[in-house]
């Protein structure tokens, strides 16, 4: 065995032992600060009143499983991609399809709208043979051959599982089945930074919400969720408490925490400043893996899509399930809350998208009260006319 580069007294064994003791020390340090559970702190918070979130619109048009969807920053348009090779831009108000982009590949794994440019989407490579991430600027001219304007930006050595524009819109962050994440410059296609640390496929990533934030979180098949510094490429924090692949990670709206959805049928909530898991969202009756998750605007609700065709809505603070959304007829592949928090979009393998929102019950009572007044009024009029 070659022993170059060994420092005095250092062997593989001693390093292994050191790593074990460091891991134990890390656990101890984290446990020291675990003085109370999140749901205990939230005991004084009012229990959520019955949520009236229901599916209000069903968007049909894809011919095959919808793999991914995202909202546009104008809060009204949605883009979705499907196994049939089409990417469709929908108008959620009129339910019209604004664009249909046929792509020369059958697997668009992820798509997202650029934050600043009004219409731009990124698509993913072909089934393992492309491993690229491309940007397509969409235009209102329907006759333009959009597929020809495709521009390859990212290149990995295995499939690209997730992608996101950064806040500045000039850079693209991708995660890949080769176990790395990478930051690319959109114009030149140059690799700016790569992030190594996962020991298996990275399945999902999410950028920190603040404008000045330069961190992101990634989750993968090695059951770990890692937080990275975008500039240095350093892995700042790592969380390993899931028991199976992490399919999706999403930051809490304030940026101080994040949630993850996993094949072990749980969603977990991690606080970044306490550096530990603070809540687990699970139920004995839920045995199918969660493939996607997203927070509502205030962060009180966590929407998670599962492989048993349902969307469970969790009360983040209390750790209980607030409600459950039925309707999809196959696995839910993606849930996304609209940018202003008014509606929830969900995409599924049943080739439909559903948009759900909630009606306030308060105004319901007012309507009913006014109707009652009219009814009483008409009854009184009737009584008096009959009497006379």
């Amino acid at each position: 065995m070659a022993c170059q580069g060994l420092q005095k007294g250092e062997t593989l064994e001693s390093l292994k032992r050191e790593s074990e003791t460091l891991k134990k020390k890390l656990e101890e340090e984290r446990n020291k600060l675990n003085d109370v559970e999140l749901h205990q702190v939230a005991e004084k918070v009012e229990v959520l009143s019955a949520l009236s979130i229901k599916t209000r619109r069903v968007l049909k048009g894809h011919g095959n499983k919808v793999l991914c969807m995202d909202w546009c920053k104008d809060k009204r348009r949605m883009v979705s991609s499907s196994q049939d090779g089409k990417v469709i831009v929908w108008d959620a108000f009129t339910l019209n399809k604004e664009h249909g982009v046929p792509l020369p590949c059958t697997w668009v794994l992820a798509c997202a709208y650029a934050p600043l440019r009004s219409l731009c989407l990124i698509m993913n490579g072909y089934l393992g043979l492309d491993n690229k991430c491309s940007v397509i600027p969409l235009s209102l001219d329907k006759n333009e051959n959009l597929a020809a304007k495709k521009k390859s930006v990212a290149m990995h050595t295995n499939y690209v599982s997730g992608c996101s524009f950064t806040n500045s819109d000039m850079q693209l962050l991708t995660s890949s089945g080769d176990g790395t994440c990478a930051l690319w410059d959109v114009e030149s296609g140059q690799l700016l930074q790569s992030f190594h640390g996962h020991t298996a496929d990275v399945l999902s990533l999410d950028l920190a919400p603040s404008e000045t934030g330069n961190t992101f979180v990634s989750g993968g098949c090695d059951m770990k969720a890692n937080v990275w510094d975008m500039r240095s490429g350093q892995n700042i924090q790592s969380f390993e408490s899931h028991e199976s692949d992490i399919n999706c990670v999403k930051y809490y709206p304030s940026g101080d925490a994040f949630a993850s959805a996993s094949d072990d049928a749980t969603c977990r909530f991690y606080d970044l400043r306490a550096d530990r898991e603070v809540a687990v969202y699970q139920k004995d009756s839920i045995i199918f893996g969660a493939s996607t998750c997203d927070f509502s605007l205030s962060g009180r609700l966590l929407f998670a899509g599962y492989n048993d065709y349902t969307i469970n809505v969790w009360d983040v603070l209390k750790g209980t399930r607030a409600t459950i959304l039925f309707g999809h007829e196959n696995r839910v592949s993606r849930v996304r809350v609209s940018p202003d928090g008014t509606a929830l979009g969900s995409a599924s393998w049943d080739s439909t998208l559903r948009v759900s929102w909630s009606f306030s019950t308060g105004s319901n009572y007012i309507f009913r009260f006014i109707k009652l007044l009219f009814w009483v009024n008409s009854r009184l009029v009737l009584e008096f006319t009959v009497a006379f």
Binding site: G177, S298, L317, F359
Partner: protein, 107 residues
């Protein structure tokens, strides 16, 4: 190499009981081994271990706050923004939330 039909060739060792039921496979189930195979020499194993130890030292030195404080701040953020959360409070019954707003809504 374009498959003419949407058929994916699955390596035999990956065909399990689960794959026979599901007609569609995610890339993570097909394309790569679950762990990055380390076909490097024992020297690299050493450097990997050293890197791991450095990483653990870095993680151990992170500044942490108590869970009670972190939880209190998360809760405060929730409650502060609960009024603006349309999925929590709801939009006026019967209206379409995607319509352009004509006037400010007073909650």
């Amino acid at each position: 190499l374009t498959p003419l039909f949407n058929v994916v060739l699955i390596p035999i060792h990956k065909i399990t009981k689960e794959t026979s039921f599901s007609p569609f496979f995610l890339p993570k189930d097909i394309f790569s081994p679950k762990t990055i195979t380390n076909n490097m020499t024992s020297n690299s194993n050493l450097s990997n271990m050293r890197r791991l130890v450095e990483q653990l030292k870095l993680e151990a030195s992170v500044e942490r706050i108590k869970v009670s404080q972190a939880a209190a701040e998360l809760q405060q953020y929730c409650l502060q923004n609960a009024g603006k959360d349309a999925l929590l409070v709801g939009v006026p019954t019967g209206s379409n939330p995607f319509r352009e707003p004509r006037s400010c809504a007073i909650v």
